[in-house]
């Protein structure tokens, strides 16, 4: 995975670059919006991480430029300015996510993974989480390469949770997603599907954690998943 990092603060940039490289990404770092525009014209990236306060045009303008040029890569905005909080939160500029500086590396990695997963799902129809891969085009689920048989309702539940991870999924949302299958489905029925999924996924280190009073969340017990939870 190749990432573009646009950040003018050397301390912050080298820190992020080190952390991302460690996590297995290839990182191209530029210090200004102008450089970023040039590089984006020549090279292809899987995602961009932009600082808001940049010399030669700020990150928001750069985001607008990226969207205006039609680049589809996901954009994660970094900001030290809390005042922009609400504006960025609207994400009406075409950014996909934002974080307020200073931030913790594990959270940055988790957000990046979620962004990449979503953009990947939009283009390749394959959702992945840890050892789990779900090919929505061929309706195939593999765990560490091993094919897993899923019933149609189990498939819906897993797909819904995969799309949302690392966020938890509310039980009533799952219920709504399943009403296409059954007219009268009870919350207890969902528990049945979830426990069946658990039995199939847990051997590969993927847990469906119940959240009291809310719903479920997909969690990963392996190294990559740990980072999510650190």
């Amino acid at each position: 995975m190749r990432l573009l990092l646009v950040e003018d603060d050397v301390m912050v940039a080298s820190g992020i670059k080190l952390g991302l490289t460690d996590a297995g990404y290839t990182v191209d770092w530029v210090g200004s919006a102008e450089r970023a525009e040039q590089v984006l014209e020549r090279e292809a990236f899987d995602a961009a991480i932009l600082d808001i306060g940049l010399p030669g045009g700020d990150g928001l303008a750069l985001t607008r430029h990226i969207r205006a040029r039609g680049f589809a890569l996901p954009v994660l905005i970094l900001t030290a300015r809390d005042a922009l909080h609400d504006r960025v939160q609207g994400l009406d500029l075409g950014a996909d996510d934002y974080m307020v500086k200073p931030y913790e590396l594990p959270e940055l990695l988790a957000r990046l993974r979620a962004l990449l997963r979503r953009s990947q799902a939009a283009t390749s129809a394959v959702l992945s989480f840890g050892a789990l891969e779900m090919d929505t085009a061929h309706r195939r689920v593999t765990l560490a390469g091993q094919l897993v048989e899923l019933g149609p309702r189990e498939w819906t539940v897993l797909e819904y949770m995969l799309m949302q991870t690392p966020k938890p999924v509310a039980k009533d949302k799952l219920l709504a997603a399943l009403t296409g299958w059954d007219k009268e489905i009870t919350p207890n029925a969902i528990e049945v599907y979830v426990s069946r999924l658990r039995a199939k996924l847990e051997p590969a280190g993927i847990a469906v954690r119940a959240i009291r009073g809310f719903g479920y969340r997909l969690e990963c017990a392996d190294a990559a998943g740990r980072a999510d939870a650190a």
Partner: protein
């Protein structure tokens, strides 16, 4: 009467305010007086018309007297026709009222006697020839020698037969009265007006002096001097203003005191984690100084982790301080409030803490019923984050933390609640834990004593406060925030 006191030159912007007040008062008072004066003059002028009418009637009353005054000498033949022909043989013996009339206004009065053909038998040259055809009197005004004379002519039967008698009065009543009005009414009125303007100017300035003095007293103050203004030295009229000012001073005083204390505390608090960071980095820099540029410095893994913790700690403190200052800034701001879905808020915050909870093996749960309130969404989120963060931090592993929200009914008060089954807070400490930077003695962990203070600060922005109780079964801590019911 003293002249109008000139306004002393006053520096400052409020000069306009007081000057404006003074000007308005003066304009209103003087306009009233001028109006009264004008009405008086108008009445007097009106009276002049009446006076002219009276003059005509007086002249008319004198006509019979004049008729009585015409005598024919005994020795002359007393035939009317003869009289006309032998004109000078007429004798006038003026009746006393006529004498009086002539003597009273010497030079301005005249009498004339004409025969029926209009020949002058007696009288001044300038008298016009009037031949009234009936017995009714005829009035004209004649200018003679720069004076307007009122002239009456009437046919009257006399001893010498029917003659035309004429009386002229040069003391024109209208002029006379106009002069009267000018002298006796207009001039005194103008003088009175001038005097009144002076007195009023002086009086208004005097009356406004308490305001001017107050303004100067406030102006002279240094920005740091917020001591109350002495109420006893201010007149009763300005006292409400002084009271309001004093209340404002007190509030500002209190606020700036709190601010000063807060900044001092915050700086002190920031020094603690910064000191740890600096100590670590200084030690490495010391080691690095004796090494070459390309040499590698080896660090123990736990050192790096400690460093990371100290950094996160500092960041959290900075974030908390920011949250506090923003809550303070919004204390009296109702304009930016919006409807906040508390159940949504609880779900967001729950998701935010799932990792932290599972890292500490804490069962984080939600019991959310639909509830809405009016408020600042991001502040309420901050409030809940601080409560849950606190609960997770101080609940031992294996414990449970529950977020709740609800509303008794459509018009009932909405509330949010965070309950844990940790060590709880002793009733005696519950008041104090809401103070900034206060930490319960013997508490471990990396807190700054700000979490509950922030939550309480935000609650107060929303006109409510934290209620601290023991959790279910008397264990742990339950923090509840009940909001005002939203009017729909």
């Amino acid at each position: 009467m003293p002249p109008a006191a000139p306004t002393p030159p006053e520096p400052g912007a409020s000069r306009d305010m007081i000057g404006g007040l003074r000007r308005r008062l003066m304009v209103m008072l003087l306009a009233t007086i001028a109006l009264i004066g004008a009405v008086t003059v108008a009445f007097h002028y009106q009276a002049a018309g009446t006076a002219a009418l009276q003059q005509d009637q007086r002249l008319l009353r004198l006509v019979p007297m004049l008729a009585d005054s015409v005598l024919v000498p005994r020795d002359a033949p007393s035939v009317a026709g003869d009289l006309a022909r032998e004109a000078p043989s007429l004798t006038l013996l003026m009746a006393p009222p006529i004498q009086e009339f002539l003597a009273d206004r010497e030079g301005h009065t005249a009498v004339g006697v004409f025969n029926a053909q209009g020949e002058r038998l007696f009288g001044a040259e300038w008298l016009p020839v009037l031949l009234p055809t009936t017995d009714a009197p005829e009035f004209v005004s004649v200018v003679e020698g720069g004076v307007t004379h009122r002239v009456v002519a009437q046919r009257a039967a006399t001893e010498a037969g029917e003659l035309i008698l004429m009386l002229a009065d040069g003391s024109d009543a209208r002029q006379h009265w106009l002069r009267n009005v000018l002298l006796r009414v207009l001039l005194p009125n103008l003088a009175l007006f001038a005097v009144a303007a002076g007195v009023l100017g002086w009086g208004v300035t005097r009356a406004l002096r308490p305001l001017t003095d107050l303004k100067q007293a406030v102006e002279r103050r240094s920005p740091r001097d917020l001591s109350p203004i002495d109420e006893r030295q201010t007149p009763a009229e300005v006292r409400p203003l002084v009271d309001a000012l004093n209340r404002l001073f007190a509030r500002v005083n209190e606020q700036s005191d709190t601010q000063r204390r807060f900044v001092a505390d915050a700086a002190h608090q920031l020094r603690t984690p910064l000191a740890g960071l600096q100590a670590q980095v200084e030690a490495w820099a010391q080691a690095a100084r004796s090494m070459g540029a390309g040499d590698l410095l080896s660090l123990r893994a736990e050192q790096v982790l400690r460093l990371r913790d100290a950094t996160r700690n500092t960041t959290q403190l900075a974030n908390q301080l920011l949250a506090l200052s923003r809550a303070d800034a919004l204390r009296d701001d109702d304009a930016t409030r919006e409807t906040v879905d508390l159940a949504d808020l609880c779900e967001t915050v729950l998701a935010h803490f799932l990792d932290a909870a599972s890292a500490r093996r804490i069962d984080l749960g939600l019991e959310a019923a639909p509830a809405r309130t009016e408020g600042h969404a991001w502040l309420l989120r901050e409030l809940l984050i601080n409560l849950v963060d606190n609960a997770i931090k101080y609940t031992p592993g294996g414990g449970a933390v529950t977020l709740r929200c609800g509303q008794g009914g459509a018009h009932a008060s909405p509330w949010i609640e965070v309950e844990d089954d940790g060590p709880g807070i002793a009733p005696a400490e519950r008041e104090r834990v809401l103070q900034r930077f206060y930490r319960v003695p013997g508490t471990g962990g990396s807190g700054h004593g700000l979490g509950l203070a922030i939550a309480d600060g935000i609650a107060r922005v929303h006109r409510t406060q934290l209620q601290l109780d023991a959790g279910a079964l008397g264990r742990g801590l339950r923090v509840r925030v009940a909001f005002d019911a939203v009017a729909h």
